[in-house]
Structure formats: structure tokens, C-alpha cells
């Protein structure tokens, strides 16, 4: 790819803003172990080959600007205050050979960037079939951005097969979580008007149940859906450029779940009984229908027959602000290790804006149920303090959480007062603080399950920091008032003072046009000359 040749860029990952937040309690572990998603706002990290830091900064600038144009995202706003150089958090992907030494890792994030359809188009354009065939034909701005959670990411990494020239591999990922009930609403009827009374799903066991009284039970019942219902269209075959051995559609459901598909699709069941895939003919439309499974009757099905229990995540993380007021605040970070027997080790990285001045000495770790601080669980701290208006704070902590426990990490910070011009137009909204990134380190023990042997990521939600904000209307009023006063009083007086008013008939007769101008110039020059002469005498 041209980008790499020009910039010596040894792989980068770019994630467009995610929408919504991952509900780990209901949805379990994140897709791809969280490695293919960013936080709220756009996030970019790259390994750059450079001899010096300055060279790396220059390449980073080029990269951000190039990607900004490529993906219609404001990546060029990632300046030095938003750029960090993670030390412990990210690992380079792909083959880098011996060149690891002069690789610089740079990471930047714009927390207040919002995803938009204009980001989807360039994303689809990178695909071989450009969204015309295959599963990408389902991607439609209306459905994609109505999801409860959605993430788009692009990873580029160098791959060096033995004895061949290195190539770059690009991987594009889209993840969505859909609310089935909301997605099933037909297009054009998206307003959730109350359904007619007879369509309500009621709990008839209630004693007061009657025609006009209905205790709703719609959330407890099973779901039924089909691809064309949810996406509003059918899957348009497969892209002929793809590897025919990889089935395009896979679904994680128990074996007992009934699924009907359109004709000619071949079902391939996974031996573990928890997923199945479908081979789709390349030029036919495809859909699958998952009917409602009756909960009573002869062939009663339970919730276990309908859905697979999601995998428990390795760690639950939640971050929030504490305190109130315009001067100080605090951050509380709640981490829960759900595993009953294994401890979790991870790196927690926070890149904070410079106007949020943290007090590192207030960093405390406390295990729930234990009194007093337990700073022993923080194994390593990497801290790069902020410089006003030049760079943000970077804080990386290596923490180990004992099994089945909840840890509270807290620290305090001070809010700075910005300069008048540094406030954004919507100053009273507050300032977004980027999500903190948690990298769960692979377990070193030999008997760890496979999910523990690889790196996984986790991101918290972003935060909204309200800073002391001046009343912007006041300077505006003052400026207007002063300008008016000057314009009226000063301007008028000055005008009268410097101008000589004479009657039209008394004025000197001047020839019009160029001739007149020349005559005036000559006259002025001559008087000046005379004046100078007079002085010297």
C-alpha cells in the first residue's frame, strides 16, 4: 500500500467511533476480545519506523492527515496534546522482523467524534465487492446506526511469508448489537407508537387481567426474527473474490434452535453444537428465519434451547467522576474480576487532557471488603505528566486483581481555567475525556484456558468533564457596546475635525480623470519640495 511505502509505517489500527456502550452484564465478553474496537470517538494507533521521535511525530502527522481525508473523519485534529506514546499497553501485530527497535508506537484519540454515514461509505469502498454482494450488502446506514452497539475498525499489519516480499494485510471489522424488537419495525414506521390493545403481549395470570388492563410480558418471551426483517433486505449472494471455503454466514445458537433458510443454502454444523454456518450460492438472495419457539405445549423449549449463554468477560470495568463543583474532582474506577479462582493482570492506560491535572499522590487502590488502601495490587506505574497546552497526561498502571474481588482505583484532579479562546463553541456541554484502555495481559500459567492465553482489550465509556466556564455572552455585549460607542462618538467627531467643509462653488476646480490626478500629484510634490527648501534655508 502506498501509505506504507511513503511513511515507513509498520502497521496501524484505526477504529471509527463506536456507538452506544457494551453491556457486559447482558452481552458477556466483547467480540474479538475487544481488540478490534475503539472507544467512544475515533481512535488511531500506529507503529512508525523512525530513527528519532521527531521523525516519528512528522510521520504521525502525515498519517493522521492522510487517514482523515480517506475516512472523512476529523483525524487531523489529533494534535500533540492528544497523542500519547503507550509504553505497556499495545503490542505490534504482524511480522516486523528485526526492525522492532526503531518502531515508535503512537496513539491518539478524539473522544467527541461521532460516527456518521459518511464514515461508512469509505469503509465499504475498501471492500472488494464494495457492499454490493456478500454480508456487506446488509450494511445500510439506517440499520447500522440504529444498533444498540456498533463498532467499525480497520487494522493494517505487515505479513512476511517465508522467502517472499512483505505485504500488508488489511482487516476490516464491523460489529453490531441489534435490539430485535426495534430493528423489526418496518422502515418508515420507526415511531414506536403504542400497539393496538389487542396486540399487547399480556401476562394473563394476573388477577386483574382484562380487556383494558394488561401487565406486559413482552420482554420475557422468546424472540423470533429473520435477516430480511431485521435488515430490511436479503443477503445478496457472496462476493466472488472471497475465499470459497470460508462460509459467509455463521450463527451462534444451540443445536436445538430451529432455523429455516432460503433454498440452496448449505448448513454446516460446528461439532461443539453451539454454532453453525451457511454456504450461500453466489448469485442468490439469502435469508434465514428463526421462528418463535413455543415455551409450552408438547415440544416445549426453554431459553437454553434458544440462545447460547454469553461468555463471561475476564473483567468488568466502570469509570465515573466523583465530587462536584468547578474546582476539583475525582475519578473512580471500579474493576471486578468475576473469575472465582484466577487473578487477572492488566495494564490500565489513561490519556487525559492537560486541563485535567491529576494528583498522582492521591492514586489509591482499595479492594472491596478490606478497610484501608491496598496499593500492593498496583505493580507498576508509568506516568508522564501533562504540560499545559502542549501534551496531556499519560498514566499507565499494571494492576493485578485477586480472584472474585472488586477493586476501586481512585485519584483526584484539579480543573484548570482555560483561556477565553480555548473554549469550544459549546463550552457548557463540558469536555470529553477519552475512554481508558485496559489491556488484559495473557496468563503465564500453563494450564490457563485458551481465552486467557491471548491479549484482550477493554474500554470504559468516555466521561464528560465540566470546567469552569465564563459567561460568554458578557464579553460579546461589552464588545458590541464599546464598538458602538466608538463608532458613534469618536468616529463622528474625528470626521468633523479632520474634514474641511466648503461650499460647492468655493471648491477648487479639478480636472476629472487621470489628468486631474496627475495635476494634483504634481501640485502636492511641488509644495513638499518648496517646504523642504524653506526649512533648509
Amino acid at each position: 500500500m502506498k501509505l506504507r511505502l511513503r511513511q515507513g509505517c509498520a502497521g496501524w489500527s484505526f477504529s471509527l467511533p463506536i456507538l452506544g456502550r457494551w453491556d457486559a452484564e447482558s452481552w458477556g465478553a466483547r467480540p474479538w476480545d475487544g481488540t478490534k474496537e475503539g472507544g467512544t470517538g475515533v481512535e488511531l494507533w500506529a507503529w512508525l519506523q523512525a530513527d528519532t521521535e521527531d521523525e516519528a511525530d512528522l510521520k504521525w502527522l502525515t498519517l493522521t492527515n492522510a487517514l482523515s481525508g480517506l475516512f472523512c473523519a476529523s483525524l487531523n485534529f489529533i494534535d500533540e496534546t492528544r497523542t500519547t506514546r503507550p509504553v505497556m499497553s499495545f503490542q505490534p501485530e504482524g511480522d516486523h522482523g528485526s526492525s522492532l527497535d526503531n518502531l515508535h508506537l503512537l496513539h491518539g484519540v478524539l473522544p467527541h467524534e461521532i460516527v456518521c454515514t459518511e464514515n461508512l461509505t469509505p469503509f465499504l469502498k475498501l471492500l472488494p465487492c464494495k457492499g454490493k454482494a456478500g454480508i456487506s450488502s446488509l450494511l445500510d446506514g439506517h440499520k447500522l446506526f440504529d444498533a444498540s452497539w456498533q463498532s467499525m475498525a480497520i487494522d493494517v499489519r505487515p505479513v512476511c511469508p517465508e522467502g517472499q516480499e512483505c505485504v500488508l494485510q488489511i482487516e476490516q471489522t464491523i460489529d453490531m448489537v441489534l435490539d430485535i424488537e426495534r430493528s423489526k419495525r418496518p422502515r418508515g414506521y420507526t415511531i414506536p407508537r403504542p400497539p393496538p390493545g389487542h396486540d399487547l403481549k399480556c401476562n394473563a395470570t394476573k388477577p386483574y387481567h382484562s380487556g383494558d388492563t394488561c401487565f406486559p410480558s413482552d420482554f420475557a418471551e422468546g424472540q423470533d426474527w429473520s435477516i430480511d426483517q431485521i435488515f430490511g433486505k436479503f443477503l445478496k449472494g457472496t462476493c466472488p473474490l472471497t475465499d470459497p471455503d470460508v462460509p459467509p454466514v455463521c450463527i451462534h445458537v444451540p443445536e436445538r434452535r430451529d432455523i429455516f433458510t432460503t433454498a440452496n443454502a448449505v448448513e454446516l454444523k460446528n461439532p461443539d453444537g453451539l454454532s453453525r454456518c451457511y454456504q450461500v450460492p453466489s448469485d442468490e438472495q439469502f435469508s434465514m428465519i428463526l421462528p418463535r419457539m413455543s415455551r409450552d405445549g408438547d415440544n416445549a423449549k426453554t431459553i437454553e434451547d434458544e440462545t447460547v449463554e454469553p461468555e463471561t468477560p475476564l473483567l468488568y470495568a466502570e469509570r465515573s467522576f466523583t465530587g462536584h463543583g468547578q474546582e476539583r474532582g475525582g475519578v473512580q474506577f471500579i474493576l471486578t474480576n468475576p473469575s472465582p479462582d484466577t487473578s487477572v493482570e492488566f495494564v490500565y492506560m489513561e490519556s487525559l487532557p492537560w486541563f485535567m491535572r491529576i494528583y498522582l499522590h492521591t492514586l489509591k487502590a482499595r479492594v472491596e471488603g478490606q478497610s484501608g488502601a491496598n496499593d500492593g495490587i498496583i505493580e507498576e506505574i508509568y506516568y508522564r505528566p501533562a504540560l499545559d497546552r502542549a501534551r496531556g497526561t499519560q498514566l499507565e498502571l499494571r494492576v493485578r486483581i485477586p480472584p472474585a474481588s472488586t477493586v476501586f482505583l481512585t485519584y483526584d484532579f484539579e480543573k484548570s481555567i482555560l483561556r477565553y479562546t480555548e473554549y469550544p463553541p459549546d463550552a457548557n456541554r463540558g469536555f470529553d475525556v477519552a475512554a481508558s484502555i485496559i489491556t488484559i495481559l495473557p496468563s503465564t500459567s500453563l494450564d490457563a484456558p485458551p481465552s486467557r492465553r491471548k491479549i484482550s482489550n477493554l474500554r470504559t465509556t468516555s466521561l464528560l468533564l465540566s470546567l469552569p466556564t465564563p459567561d460568554f455572552s458578557m464579553p460579546y455585549n461589552v464588545i458590541i457596546f464599546t464598538s458602538t460607542a466608538i463608532a458613534l462618538a469618536f468616529g463622528g467627531l474625528y470626521n468633523i475635525l479632520v474634514r474641511r467643509f466648503v461650499g460647492a462653488n468655493e471648491g477648487p476646480e479639478t480636472a476629472a480623470g487621470l489628468k486631474g490626478l496627475l495635476a494634483q500629484l504634481v501640485k502636492r510634490l511641488s509644495t513638499k519640495f518648496k517646504g523642504a527648501k524653506g526649512k533648509t534655508e
Binding site: P192, P195, C202, T213
Partner: protein, 815 residues
């Protein structure tokens, strides 16, 4: 009349050249000083500055400073001193500000003023277009332009200079200034004016005028000309611009939920919360629960909050809006329909995907303590030993709406309750939006301050405003929303009232519309007013209009304090031994020692003020205020009323007790000067506290200022016991304890107890009020008790001591 032709550049230059030599010299000196001021070796500005407060507060500084001014006047003529005096008067006494001025520009403006008048005599008008501008206004223009262009200049100072210039020229001042013989005469006139006893007689009347104008000002506010129509300031809100769809089969769901709520009516808190948690989970909300315990006045308030968060489907958890529906409202009524409608709305909100902010539904067991615990814990300012932290949280709270709906049957309109704890108010935009949606979209009536059926006449407007001021002054929580406001979360409570044709779904749609508006917000509500008095649902008085009334009342105390300071420095009120050394026998015959000031030669030195004893007494009284504050916040509620009555009884004798104590411990009884200083310090503090309080809680400052107005005119009456005891009795009526008792009596009578039960009813009411105050102190964090016991009560105490004091005048006379 000169025409415009005469104004050319030549003319302008000649204008400059024709300026008297002295004016030009002054300009040169001024520039030289400005240049000297650029290098920072010695601070010219501080050296030469005239700072009003330093003149009046520092002991003896006033005299020395005045000496300097007088000597300066000998050099520069009275023309500097007069504007300086006017300036000090304006800046300190009228505006209450304290700005330093530098003299040089003053002189220039003074001379420009004189020049302006002289020009006016020859050329009366300057013609700009068709307008005839009098030429004497040019210096004023200059003053405005200089004020606009040069930072840190004193506009008032310049105006004083120009004004003096005008005055001097209107008399033949040119001759006066040049004629050195006239100067001592003028100087003497000024000094006589300064020593004029009439000047000292003025402040009490001025003070009274301040009070009268302050009260009249407030009474003018409900008039049409002094209030404004409300308007939506925040464009993002767009109230009433969306269709609301709540209704239809949601009514069936509502009825079911109401059956569920009815079934839980007599259950205990935990059982209720278990059931509510189940309902929330079936709707698809995240549920959290929180335990709290409060102790106040010997009572324990404990319970468990249940709340649920609807995570905005596409939101990023940075912002949230809150819907509160307490199980019981502030009056303790079962909020049956409110809880059911909140549950139905929650289920309805879940279906929308447009929410940009999380929606938090809180169902606290009561509307007073429980919601406070929740809000405190949300902002992590709770006491973690008695109040649990919240297990789940969302982002910044952007607004809160509480539903208080025990009303049965169809309703006519909604009552919007907006007062917050400590008299803070929500942003006016929120109230306006609800009004707008209710009136414009739903066709509902809306009311404020329990004034149903507002006639839009002066009477109703005044009543509405006074009720609002009462709520603000008391600072208590009037609904579950009140606890949110101190955290800068704008909140209101909606109460359906009256008999009309609107049903529960109508209220639901109103809440839906309000939430849609709040959901539109891009920034925190900040555009509209936070300080206002509503006189009607759609008319308000803004802070700039109403604040002067409380400020005037506060200023009356300051004026009296300054007068007393000046009087205490005057010869005659101090120790007779010192006086006798200065005065001749015949002047001592003057009773107050005021009249003799005029006759006295200006060279007489001022007397030393004995400030330490009065200052000590005033400070001690203020610290003594901590005692009742502690007692009434830490007494079990059943003892509160007896304690208070005992304290009130004791309070009657407190001033004489303090007076006797001081007189017996110090070597000699308090002198008249010390009484003056005592009152001076006390009033100075009161004025200061009230004027700063007026910016925080206008109504409280106004009420306290009004009731303690008699303190301004308190003085020792050593000769006339009738006056003394009469005024002492008046002060007893205006004491904080009597005010509480009278308030309790009025409240009890409004509740309707009469006859034999009246006394018992009064005791009960008193106990209710006091335990409410203690509850406010412990739970809501009210600062009103501090104002009453540490600001008002000490001021009253010192005032009463002053009235009862009998400085030994005979001794003075015999000296």
C-alpha cells in the same frame, strides 16, 4: 452660532493651543507620571491613589489622609479636593464600591470641564448634521471615550472632575482660581461644609429612606412595567415541537401497574423495592438499590432507594436525565398514580432509540431524606458511614423531573414546584419549557406557588411573588426535585391539580414532551436566568430589577455604621478627661457634642477611639451564636419546643446580662463612644453579611434585613427611661426568637387550630418547625440556621445592649 465650517484641522490645533497653560502642563505631568509608572521601581499608582475604604476604615487614617488632602489643596487649589470628596462620597456611600483613583486625569477633566463651559459661552452649539450638540458636553464625551478605551480609569472620578469644572466656571471661577486671595475663603467654606453638623444629621434620614425605598421597590415589582414575559432562551430545547405518542394501549399497561402499586401499598420498603426491581428488569432497565440512614433531632430516617437506568441505545453514558417518582410525596401522601405513570413511561421510553442521554428512574420511599441520599451519593458527597454508595451510575445529570401525583381522577392542570434547597432555583428555561408544553401543546393549565386561578392582577402577582420569596427564604425542600438543585442539576416537580378533563396519559405526554426537550440539549442548561422572582407562570422579575430592594435595606445598616464611626471620632462622645484638655468650658455644655464641631477651629485633633472592647463584644456575640445553633440542631425533637421557649425567655434578659457582665468586669462602665462603636461594628457586619447574602438568597436577606431594620435606629437613651424601655420592647418583638414564635403562631392558625387546642397546637407547630429546621440542617445542608443564629441574633443582641446601655453622661457634664 458657529457653523461646521469653523471646524477644521487648523481649528482643532488652535483649540489645543488655546488650552490654558496650566491644563497643558497637567497633561505633560500626567504623561510623565505614566511613563514613570511604566518602570516598576516604585509604585506610583499606589502612592498617589485615593482609595475610599482605606480612608474610612483604617483608624486615624482618615484624619491623616485628610490632612494630606488639605495640604495638597493648598498647592493645587480646592479644585482637586472637591471632586475628590465628591468621588469618595459617590464611590463609598452611594455605590458602596471601593475603587482607587489617580488624581492626574481628574485635573485634566476638571480643566476640560472649565474649558468646555468657556467654549460654550462663546460657541454654544456644535452642529453635527441637523443636531445641535451643546459644546459643554465635549468633556463628557471625552470621559466616555476614555472610559471605553483606557482600561482601569474611573468614570465616576472623571465625571466628578468635569462636574466641579462646570461648577467653578458657572461662578467666575477663572478669577477665583487666579486670584490667590479668594482661595483661603473657599477653603474655609469647604472645611466648614465638612464640619457642618447638618451633614451628620443627614444619614439617619438617608437610612430610613433606604428602607422605605427598598420596601416600595419590592412592592413595585409585580407591576407590568417592572417584570418581563418569560421566553425560551436555549434554542436547543424546542419545547412542544415534537409529537408525543404516549397513550393508547399504554393506558392498559398503566392500569396494570397501578394494580401492582396498589398491592404494594402497605408492604414495607424492601418488599416494595423487590417488586419494583422485578418490574424494571422485565422492562429491560439496569437496577440499583441504595440504603441510607439519617439522624436528626433524635429521629432516625432510614430506608432503601431503588432506581433504574435506561442506557441510551446509542449514547455514550456521559449525560443523563432523571425521572423521580417518590413513593410518598412531601406531605406524606401515597404517590399512587405517580409511581404507576413513571413505570409506564419507563416502559414506553425503552421503545425509543432517539435518546441521547441515559434516563434514570428513581423511586425513593419518601420525598425528603431518601432522594437527598440518592443525589448526594450520585455526586459522591455522601457520608459513607450511613449512606451507601450507588452500585451503578451514569453520566452528568442534565435535568430532573419529579412526578407528584396522589391526585385521583381527572385533573385540570399541573402545579409546577421549582424552589430548591437553600433558596436556589432551577434554570428558568426548564420552567418555561414545561409551561410551554403544558399550555401550548397539551392545552393544560399550569400554576406556580399554589396560586390556582391567577387573575393576572396586582394582588395575585404580589401574592405569588411573596409566596415564592417565603419558600426561598425558608430554603426548605418543597418537593423531591429540591435536593437536585444545589448540585446544579435543574429540576422541577409536577403536581396535577384541580378537576378537569386531563387524564394520566396527559401527564405522561407532558413528561414525554419535557424529556424530549431535555434530550435535545447540547449543553448544560445555562442560557436563561438562575436568579428570578416569578410573579406569574409567564412573567418574571430578573435579578437586576429586584436586587436593589434587598441591597438598599442592607445599605441602610452600612450608612448608619459609617455615621457612627464618624460620630465616635468626634470630640464629646469620648472620655471626658481627654475632652476637657481640648475644650473650653462653654462648649462642653453642648449635649451631644455635635454643635460645637462647627464652632471648633479646624485644627483641633480627632480623638482616639477605644475600639478593642466594642470589637471584642461584637465578635464574642457572633461566636455566642454557635450556642443556640448547636442546641437547636442536637436536641431530640420532643425537647425542642420546651428548649426553645426557655431560650426565648432567657433571650429577653440576655442583653441586660451582657451589659452588666461587661460593666462589672471592665474597670469603668462603657462610654458613649464605646456604645457608638459597638453598634457601628455590629451594623457594619450586618450590612456586609446581608448584602452578600442578597446575591445568594435574596428573600432571606430581605426578610432578615426588614425585621432587623429597627436596629439601625437603636441608640442609648440614658436620660429617658421610657424611650429606652419602649425601644427595648420593640426590639424584643423584632428578635429572631419572637419572629420564630410569631411564624409558628401564624402557621398554626393557618392550619386551623383554635380555642383550647390553640396553645397545644402552637407547641406542636413550634416543635414541627424546629425539628424541620434541624432536619434541614442535618439532611439538606441548610445554611439558614447559621444566618439566623450567627448573623441575625448577634446583631439583635448587640442592638439591644446598645439600647439598654446607660453611658455616664453626668460625669461628662461635670468635667
Amino acid at each position: 452660532m458657529p457653523n461646521v465650517q469653523s471646524f477644521n484641522a487648523l481649528r482643532a490645533r488652535s483649540y489645543l493651543l488655546r488650552l490654558p497653560l496650566f491644563t497643558r502642563a497637567m497633561i505633560a505631568v500626567m504623561i510623565a507620571f505614566a511613563l514613570a509608572g511604566l518602570q516598576g521601581a516604585w509604585n506610583i499608582q499606589e502612592w498617589g491613589a485615593l482609595i475610599p475604604r482605606e480612608l474610612s476604615i483604617t483608624t486615624k487614617r482618615f484624619e491623616t489622609e485628610f490632612g494630606t488632602l488639605t495640604s495638597l489643596a493648598l498647592f493645587f487649589g480646592p479644585l482637586t479636593t472637591i471632586p475628590a470628596l465628591i468621588y469618595v462620597f459617590f464611590d463609598r456611600f452611594v455605590l458602596g464600591a471601593n475603587h482607587a483613583v489617580l488624581g492626574a486625569s481628574l485635573w485634566v477633566f476638571l480643566l476640560l470641564g472649565m474649558e468646555g463651559v468657556r467654549t460654550y459661552k462663546t460657541n454654544p452649539y456644535l452642529v453635527i448634521g441637523t443636531y445641535h450638540v451643546p459644546t459643554w458636553t465635549t468633556p463628557l464625551f471625552m470621559a466616555v471615550v476614555v472610559q471605553a478605551l483606557v482600561p482601569g480609569t474611573s468614570f465616576i472620578g472623571h465625571l466628578c472632575g468635569v462636574g466641579t469644572g462646570y461648577l467653578c466656571t458657572s461662578r467666575p471661577a477663572d478669577e477665583l482660581a487666579r486670584n490667590k486671595r479668594a482661595m483661603p475663603r473657599l477653603l474655609a467654606t469647604i472645611l466648614t461644609l465638612r464640619r457642618d453638623p447638618r451633614l451628620l444629621k443627614l444619614p439617619p434620614y438617608l437610612s430610613l429612606l433606604c428602607i422605605v425605598v427598598g420596601v416600595a421597590w419590592l412592592l413595585l415589582l409585580p407591576l407590568h412595567d417592572y417584570s418581563r414575559r418569560t421566553y425560551i432562551s436555549e434554542n436547543a430545547l424546542l419545547p412542544g415541537q415534537v409529537h408525543t405518542y404516549f397513550g393508547g394501549s399504554d393506558q392498559n399497561v398503566f392500569r396494570a401497574y397501578r394494580h401492582e402499586v396498589d398491592a404494594l401499598k402497605d408492604k414495607d420498603n424492601l418488599e416494595i423495592n423487590d417488586e419494583l426491581e422485578n418490574i424494571f428488569k422485565t422492562i429491560g432497565f439496569k437496577v440499583g438499590r441504595q440504603n441510607y440512614t439519617y439522624h436528626s433531632a433524635g429521629n432516625t430516617y432510614t430506608g432503601e432507594n431503588v432506581y433504574a437506568i435506561l442506557q441510551a441505545p446509542r449514547g455514550d453514558a456521559t449525560e443523563a436525565i432523571v425521572l423521580v417518582s417518590a413513593w410518598k410525596n412531601v406531605k406524606g401522601e401515597f404517590n399512587r398514580n405517580g409511581v404507576a405513570i413513571a413505570l409506564t413511561l419507563a416502559r414506553y421510553f425503552k421503545r425509543w432509540s432517539l435518546w441521547s442521554k441515559d434516563i434514570i428512574l428513581v423511586i425513593p420511599p419518601d420525598s425528603r431524606a431518601a432522594i437527598q441520599a440518592w443525589v448526594d451519593a450520585y455526586h459522591d458527597s455522601h457520608d459513607s458511614s450511613t449512606i451507601a454508595a450507588l452500585p451503578i451510575k451514569s453520566g452528568l445529570l442534565q435535568g430532573a423531573v419529579a412526578i407528584d401525583y396522589p391526585h385521583e381522577g381527572r385533573f385540570e392542570g399541573v402545579h409546577i414546584v421549582y424552589d430548591g434547597v437553600n433558596g436556589q432555583l432551577p434554570n428558568l428555561d426548564l420552567i418555561n419549557s414545561v409551561n410551554n408544553i403544558a399550555n401550548g401543546q397539551m392545552g393544560m393549565h399550569s400554576f406556580i406557588q399554589e396560586k390556582l386561578g391567577h387573575s393576572d392582577k396586582y394582588n395575585d402577582r404580589l401574592k405569588t411573588m411573596l409566596r415564592g420569596m417565603m419558600n426561598q427564604g425558608l430554603g426548605h425542600a418543597v418537593g423531591p426535585h429540591s435536593s437536585f438543585i444545589p448540585y446544579h442539576v435543574d429540576a422541577i416537580t409536577l403536581q396535577p391539580v384541580g378537576n378537569g378533563w386531563h387524564d394520566e396519559m396527559g401527564l405522561g405526554r407532558l413528561v414525554e414532551g419535557t424529556f424530549r426537550s431535555l434530550n435535545n440539549l447540547l449543553e448544560h442548561l445555562h442560557q436563561s436566568f438562575f436568579f428570578y422572582l416569578l410573579i406569574q407562570k409567564d412573567r418574571f422579575v430578573s435579578i437586576g430589577t429586584y436586587l436593589p430592594s434587598a441591597m438598599l435595606i442592607a445599605v441602610n445598616f452600612t450608612i448608619m455604621a459609617i455615621l457612627l464611626w464618624v460620630k465616635s471620632g468626634a470630640v464629646g462622645v469620648s472620655e471626658p478627661t481627654e475632652v476637657s484638655t481640648i475644650k473650653s468650658k462653654d462648649t462642653v455644655e453642648n449635649k451631644e457634642g455635635k454643635e460645637d464641631l462647627a464652632a471648633k477651629p479646624p485644627t483641633s485633633p480627632a480623638v482616639e477611639r477605644e475600639i478593642y472592647l466594642p470589637l471584642g463584644i461584637v465578635i464574642a456575640c457572633h461566636f455566642l451564636g454557635a450556642l443556640p445553633l448547636f442546641i437547636f440542631n442536637h436536641t431530640p425533637s420532643y425537647l425542642l419546643a420546651p428548649f426553645f421557649l426557655a431560650f426565648s425567655a432567657l433571650n429577653i434578659f440576655f442583653p441586660s446580662l451582657i451589659l452588666n457582665m461587661v460593666n462589672s468586669t471592665s474597670t469603668r462602665p462603657l462610654t458613649l463612644q464605646q456604645f457608638f462603636l459597638l453598634k457601628c461594628f455590629s451594623l457594619l457586619l450586618l450590612g456586609m453579611f446581608l448584602s452578600s447574602l442578597a446575591t445568594l438568597n435574596f428573600s432571606l436577606a430581605f426578610l432578615v434585613g426588614l425585621i432587623s431594620a429597627p436596629l439601625s435606629f437603636a441608640r442609648p437613651w440614658p436620660e429617658t427611661p421610657i424611650m429606652r424601655f419602649g425601644y427595648a420592647a420593640l426590639l424584643q418583638i423584632a428578635s429572631p426568637t419572637s419572629a420564630v414564635l410569631i411564624g409558628a403562631a401564624v402557621y398554626a392558625s393557618s392550619l386551623g387550630s383554635s380555642g383550647a387546642g390553640a396553645a397545644a397546637g402552637l407547641l406542636d407547630t413550634l416543635q414541627h418547625i424546629l425539628s424541620e429546621a434541624a432536619f434541614g440542617w442535618d439532611v439538606w445542608g441548610l445554611y439558614i440556621p447559621v444566618v439566623v443564629w450567627c448573623v441575625w441574633w448577634p446583631a439583635w443582641l448587640v442592638g439591644s445592649v446598645v439600647v439598654l446601655g446607660q453611658p455616664n453622661m453626668k460625669k461628662m457634664k461635670s468635667a
